[in-house]
């Protein structure tokens, strides 16, 4: 179930391309996948392989496993020196100096030349290539490589990849949450196998999916939501079985959460009564019984402060929501919530400061900064995505009534 080491039929996978773009695919045996300008491949050719190989698509869509993807051909050449006069002084950069047209290059590709061979051809046909500085040479090659290397790498879809998928598609569906903010939440909330967590996930199931990764099939996630059903759309990419989802996730809407009387009553039938039912009625009975039992389980957790942690990423107003769900959380257990904007968490900490049931409410901001690691040219990326969100962390306690008088 949790072995995401090998590619299995029917799974969703992420296909990383040299351009640093990706595709998300469900792999059906027998099918052929078309990667556009990168070529096509047969699903059967990668099924049951371990994840993480990099394939090059050759002539006739044959795949070969290659070693150095995303790396520079000339990495062993000494380009780490920025010689003083490698400064493009005389270089005029217009398209006329590029010896090969795109059409010609496409021809070469169809002719079965490998990406490396094409890049070699591009180099030799580029009339001012030798005038370029080592720096711009490398940039140029990297750019070409991204265009011409018919390579791809299948990767399993975990929470990290789910973030990539949503940031690419529609970041608002995960409230622009960054991987570092998600990671911080999971650690601060002490998510681990066997725990029982109360979760508000209005971010397409990203939080729930990430927790399932960390819990390895053991423990319970109770998802509270403000619709008839929670929206956990993202989970499907993560290849969890319906059985595992049913075992680990229980759901409760806020009405049921706060007004248990709204839960539909359920009457246990005797064995005799059951035998009299038609088989489809019996199925319905069992489903209703499961639903009822789940409701009882959840209600017991709520009323007995039974949760080992509270994790919240919601569109609801936190400052009014959180104080009302604190009682469900066990003593000394973490309370962690996310917001895209700091102001909503500031408001919430000010509320919690006056409420002695949470100590040390703190807003944390965590931000990743990526570097370029080309030899001799180490520097942070020039641009990066803004946002990523903020995390509020506190610990649920039972105040002594004499302490805060």
């Amino acid at each position: 179930e949790f072995d995401q080491t090998h590619i299995k039929p029917g799974q969703y996978v992420m296909i990383r391309l040299p351009s640093e773009n990706f595709r998300v695919l469900q792999l059906h045996p027998g099918q052929t996948v078309n990667l556009g300008k990168f070529g096509s491949f047969k699903v059967d050719d990668i099924l049951n392989h371990p994840y993480g190989y990099t394939y090059e698509i050759g002539a006739d869509n044959k795949l070969s496993i290659v070693n150095h993807n995303y790396e520079l051909d000339n990495q062993d050449e000494p380009v780490s020196e920025l010689a003083p006069h490698e400064n493009n002084r005389e270089l005029v950069d217009d398209s006329s100096v590029q010896g090969l047209s795109m059409a010609e290059i496409e021809e070469l590709k169809k002719g079965g030349l490998s990406g490396k061979q094409i890049i070699e051809k591009v180099k030799t046909s580029h009339s001012s290539f030798d005038k370029k500085t080592a720096f711009s040479k490398e940039k140029y090659l990297k750019r070409k490589q991204q265009k011409f290397l018919n390579q791809f790498t299948p990767e399993p879809i975990g929470s990290a990849e789910l973030i990539d998928i949503y940031l690419d598609k529609d970041a608002s569906r995960i409230q622009n949450m960054s991987e570092e903010s998600l990671a911080l939440m999971l650690s601060l909330a002490n998510v681990r196998p066997g725990g029982t967590y109360l979760v508000v996930d209005d971010i397409s199931g990203l939080l729930v999916g990430a927790m399932m990764e960390r819990m390895g099939g053991e423990g319970l996630i109770v998802v509270a939501h403000d619709n008839e059903h929670p929206n956990l759309d993202g989970l499907r990419y993560m290849n969890y079985s319906q059985g595992l989802i049913a075992k680990m996730i229980k759901t409760v809407n806020w009405l049921e959460f706060f007004e248990p009387s709204e839960i539909e009553p359920f009457e246990e039938k005797t064995t005799e009564e059951l035998q009299q039912l038609k088989s489809n009625q019996r199925g319905q009975y069992y489903r209703r019984r499961t639903r009822y039992n789940d409701s009882v389980t959840v209600q017991n957790l709520i009323s007995n402060s039974g949760f080992d942690g509270l994790l919240v990423a919601t569109g609801l107003h936190l400052a009014s929501l959180i104080p009302r769900i604190i009682p469900a959380v066990g003593g000394s257990r973490p309370i962690v919530m996310f917001s895209e904007t700091k102001e909503l968490l500031t408001e919430t900490t000010l509320v919690l400061h006056k409420d002695f049931r949470v100590i040390s409410p703190t807003i944390l901001e965590t931000r990743l900064r990526k570097y370029q690691t080309l030899p001799g040219r180490m520097h942070p990326h020039m641009t990066s995505r803004g946002g990523g969100g903020y995390v509020l962390w506190g610990i649920r306690v039972f105040p002594d009534e004499n302490a805060n008088a």
Partner: protein, 388 residues
């Protein structure tokens, strides 16, 4: 209008920034016979002459407006989004401060690049000071030279076409006399080759400040090494990070509204089921999609799970239902259930029918790195007998 005066009225020949939006600022030199064409229409220059700087004026067709903005070094930089080698304002403002560039300062700059930093410091040195700027790339040199002249900066800026790393800084074009620079800004790929060539051009009677602007860490390492060797002191490397924020309003979605809405949905579902029962399930039941494992994205899970059960137009008895829950609704026509936050409607941010919180949002793409800034000073020469 040059960069160095403060007039109020636009005259022929003035440089004016036509402000269409923050990301779309067009520098124009106002000439009677010319016109500016934008996606908001045509703005003839002769209607611009005589306007006050700051005025908002309509296009000929009246379908759009621009603001007439006077250039400053910062706005000039903003209007150059597609040029390379721009020193952006968060960096340039700090460099000016750290190099103590003030009226009377004599500053060496290499390379000139886009001229953005040249403009920034020309505001500060005043006619009492001077700027010596060097550019080795001929097309860029020519462009910068023209700009310096057009912008009325030629008196205080000497620009020279030269590779300072090989040829040094002495004897700049159009300038005779001692350079005596008290501040140096090097935006070069290899500042360590230029630093040893500086000495003869620097003031010796006062502290001289230097800033080297390099994107890569390896450049910094070599620069620091060279500065040490050349006797510079108080070497400090810093980075300036800057972010832009915008004010927004975030709708308050109260838990109580959510509870009310869930009650309403439930009420309407039960009511709908009853009606249906009476009608012997005449209407076909649409399958409620399982929200997990559903291949298509939905804006909100609620529409798909509610609508199959009670669509207003489905039965005539809906009218009764509609009445019975109408008190919850703020929209009278086509009632789709209690909708406290206007889901599915186009709500203007800040609409007074809803409750809002002020929040700030970062820009979508941030400039996470420009360059490393290595500062150092050279103390004055010892001219006094040693006291010991």
């Amino acid at each position: 209008m040059s960069f160095l005066d403060n007039r109020d009225i636009i005259q022929e020949g003035d440089l004016v920034l036509a402000w269409i939006s923050r990301g779309d600022v067009k520098p124009i030199t106002v000439r009677k016979e010319q016109q500016l064409n934008t996606r908001f229409g045509i703005f003839p220059h002769n209607l611009i002459i005589g306007q006050k700087f700051g005025n908002q004026i309509p296009s000929v067709s009246g379908k759009g407006f621009i603001h007439l903005v006077a250039p400053t070094p910062e706005l000039w930089t903003l209007s150059l989004p597609h040029r390379t080698q721009i020193v952006y304002t968060p960096d340039s403002s700090y460099i000016v401060q750290r190099l103590k560039i003030r009226p009377g300062s004599r500053v060496i700059e290499a390379g000139t690049g886009s001229g953005s930093f040249t403009h920034a410091i020309s505001r500060s040195v005043d006619k009492r000071g001077h700027i010596f700027t060097y550019e080795f790339h001929e097309p860029r040199f020519l462009e910068a030279k023209k700009e310096i002249e057009d912008h009325g900066l030629a008196d205080i800026v000497s620009i020279t076409h030269r590779d300072v790393c090989n040829e040094g800084f002495e004897n700049p074009m159009d300038y005779s006399g001692d350079m005596n620079a008290s501040a140096v800004f090097l935006d070069l790929p290899s500042p360590w080759t230029a630093i040893p060539r500086l000495k003869s051009c620097l003031a010796t009677d006062r502290v001289v400040s230097i800033c080297c602007f390099s994107p890569c860490m390896e450049q910094v390492i070599k620069t620091v090494e060279t500065l040490r060797k050349e006797g510079f002191q108080r070497i400090e490397m810093v980075e300036i990070s800057s972010k832009r924020w915008e004010g927004h309003r975030n709708m308050v979605r109260n838990l109580d509204d959510a509870l009310q809405r869930l009650k309403d949905v439930k009420e309407r579902r039960l009511y709908g089921l009853e009606i249906r029962k009476e009608k012997n399930d005449a209407a076909k039941k649409r399958k409620i999609e399982d929200s997990v494992g559903n291949a298509s994205h939905r804006d909100s899970a609620v529409e798909s799970s509610v609508s199959p059960v009670a669509t207003p137009s489905e039965t005539t008895s809906e009218a009764v239902l509609l009445e019975s829950v109408k008190h919850n609704s703020s929209q009278n026509s086509s009632y789709k259930g209690y909708n406290p936050w206007g889901r599915g409607l186009r709500i203007r941010e800040g609409d007074p029918n809803y409750e809002w919180r002020s929040v700030s949002r970062m820009e979508a793409e941030i400039k996470s790195h420009t360059s490393y800034l290595t500062f150092a000073i050279l103390p004055p020469k010892f001219e006094l007998p040693n006291n010991e």
